[in-house]
Amino acid sequence: MKALTANRLSDGEVVFWKDGAWVERLSEAQIFSDEAGAGEAEASARTQRTVVIDPYLIDLVDSAGFWAPVSYRERIRALGPTNHELHGKQAEGGGAVEALRQAHGAARSSGRVNLIRRK
């Protein structure tokens, strides 16, 4: 599964594609199950040059019933910096944020989740 992400031109905010527009939460993003649909959306997003910068597709995995990025970097983008838990989207809290925090993706090392949650 995939989602389409970018940074918003006006403020750099991490945003996700949803039916031709952009939303701030991954939990509200359009999820693509096929390569063709994802590629089409990416091509369309690249035409929105005054709205976003550098749109690209990310891989997702299931985490506690929510979709979470496989890549650790993308999970930080979707949450916010781990040293300031009140900054970024993580400040809202809730099930989707918690699922992102708990997501493992490619991670294998023990203790990682605790480190993320500590700050």
Partner: protein
């Protein structure tokens, strides 16, 4: 401190107006991102993971209270109430909106600050000794030269598009607090046989993916010939530096490829051609020197109840031991302000803390504030009788952690929490280590211990010159960390050697503790960690880390 003149202010006003128009055109779609990106970078505006980041130049790490308050105001109005001091003595704001950037530049210009040349392949902010003008071991105040270099290098037409970025450090003390030997050019002020001052010129140091301790290419350069010589070095680099490969474009690669002697010959030949016409007239150096306001020192001031309080209050005594340094004038001290509170983000400072530092500098510190490449602040001129009051105020604001040069005084780059280039986080690793060594008695017993952490090979966290260096790497999508031992950014500069295989994030602090324990077992009377390591080699430490890691 140097003050801008009318021309400086006009240049800044024009530059900000130009950038305001560029932002407008970008938002209106008249400029593409490819066209706009180099323009915003030339004004210090980066796009990071979560938002735009504005990097503000703090010239040679000197700030006035007025400037610090302006930074606090910017943090409140345009960011999230804080800023982050960097390893280039600059300050970054992490949550900037594009449309606000020109207003921020205006606010900076109002107090003689800007963000020019904080990015791009140009001469960046000069690093100076943060104790300049105050250090007891200083030959003369190096900031006059730093300011002259700032003026010479700002918007320099020949050197604005170098093969790669270029960093210069200047120090006038035998104890190097600037990491001069790992700069593109390190200038060490020396006294010549004739009694005049000059510079030992080191060229081609650096960190990044190919670290080098720079070689000395001229043992003594008369100070009045500095600018023609700098021009010769930069011109040789501009001519021969590689532009085909970004990873081989720094001057260190050129110096290593040619060899220091051959590079020096090229420079000398170019210098000969330039001649003294390329130098600043002495009158200009004197004019710049006169623009620095001399602190209003009192001759032999009373130290009040400083000694009595030090004897009576152990916490104050600990602060004095670690955060107060010898001043050139009797009755004064240099106060280090730690931005490394235990569990805090190294280098971060809130707007309220900025205001407090400004107040203290004004009331007790001759209006002088410095930022250090180790991500701390300094009040360089505090009368000893005022140190207790300064300490109390800092302590109440969480700024009096007595850990300067100790194990929790860790350099960490923003890492993967913010930086688009990073492979792994650095901040949380620093926080975890600092918590492990939180007990001040233990930290003092360990002694001088410099841990430096980078989230990628670009080495903004100076890991190559950490006594323990920690480098974050991406191993199949996971954060792993390579440890190096034996680096130093001081006068005994050295690049650390890799200890062994990279460790997962949850083993890093244990590994650091194992190294520390091995050091405490092995050390002899009076040895720093580096001394013990140099005597024993890395075998005891390798065994400690990897025996415990399995």
């Amino acid at each position: 401190m140097y003050r801008y003149d009318a021309i400086d202010r006009a240049v800044l006003a024009d530059r900000t107006a130009e950038f305001r128009d560029q932002v407008r055109r970008r938002l209106a779609g008249e400029l593409t991102e490819d066209q706009f990106k180099p323009l915003r970078l030339m004004n210090g505006l980066y796009l990071q993971l979560h938002a735009y980041m504005l990097r503000v130049a703090v010239p040679y790490g000197s700030l006035s209270p007025l400037q610090m308050r302006a930074l606090a105001d910017i943090a409140r109005r345009f960011d999230r109430g804080y800023g982050h001091f960097t390893t280039r003595t600059n300050i970054q704001f992490n949550w900037v909106k594009l449309a606000d950037a020109p207003d921020i530049l205006d606010a900076l210009a109002a107090v003689d600050l800007h963000a020019i040349q904080t990015s791009g392949n140009c001469i960046r902010n000069v690093t100076a000794d943060p104790y300049a003008g105050a250090a007891a071991d200083e030959l003369e105040d190096p900031r006059v030269w730093c300011e002259a270099i700032r003026q010479w290098s700002s918007l320099h037409p020949e050197f604005s598009f170098l093969p790669r970025k270029f960093k210069i450090a200047v120090t006038a003390s035998p104890h190097d607090r600037t990491a001069a030997k790992v700069h593109d050019i390190g200038l060490l002020l020396r006294r010549g046989r004739d009694g005049e001052t000059g510079f030992e010129v080191i060229v081609g140091g650096g960190m990044g993916r190919t670290p080098y301790v720079g070689p000395t290419i001229r043992a003594y350069l008369p100070s009045d010939r500095l600018f023609s010589y700098l021009e010769a070095v930069l011109r040789v680099y501009n001519r021969h530096g590689r532009r085909d490969n970004i990873y081989k474009a720094r001057i260190k690669i050129l110096v290593a490829a040619l060899g220091a002697e051959a590079f020096a010959r090229e420079v000398e030949a170019e210098w000969e051609k330039i001649g003294p016409e390329g130098d600043l007239p002495r009158a200009e150096i004197d004019r710049i020197g006169a623009a620095f306001t001399n602190p209003d020192f009192v001759a032999d001031p009373a130290s009040g109840d400083f000694e009595a309080r030090r004897a009576a209050e152990p916490a104050f005594a600990r602060f004095v031991r670690n955060n107060l340094k010898a001043h050139v004038r009797p009755g004064y001290g240099i106060v280090d302000i730690s931005l490394k509170g235990i569990g805090e983000t190294p280098g971060d400072i809130s707007a309220d803390q900025m205001d407090l530092v400004a107040d203290l500098a004004e009331r007790f510190g001759q209006g002088d504030i410095r930022s250090t490449h180790e991500q701390n602040l300094v009040l360089p001129h505090v009368r000893l009788e005022h140190v207790h009051e300064v300490w109390k105020a800092l302590d109440a604001a969480g700024l009096a952690t007595p850990n300067i040069n100790l194990i929790s005084d860790i350099i960490a780059c923003p890492g993967l929490d913010y930086c688009a280039l990073a492979n792994a986080r650095a901040i949380c690793v620093a926080q975890d280590i600092a918590r492990r060594f939180e007990a001040p008695e233990r930290a003092e017993a360990i002694g001088e211990f410099k841990i430096k952490i980078s989230g990628c090979i670009n080495a903004c966290g100076h890991h190559h010159v950490g006594h323990i260096g920690i480098l974050g790497v991406d191993k199949k999508g996971e954060e792993f960390y390579q440890l190096t031992l034996g680096g130093s950014g001081a006068e005994d500069a050295a690049v650390g050697k890799m200890l062994g295989p990279a460790l997962p994030i949850d083993r890093v602090t244990d590994a650091v503790e194992a190294i520390v324990d091995a050091y405490l077992r092995e050390r002899r009377e009076g040895e720093r960690f580096l001394d013990t390591l140099r005597r024993t080699g890395d075998a005891p430490f390798k065994e400690a880390v990897y025996a415990e890691a399995h």
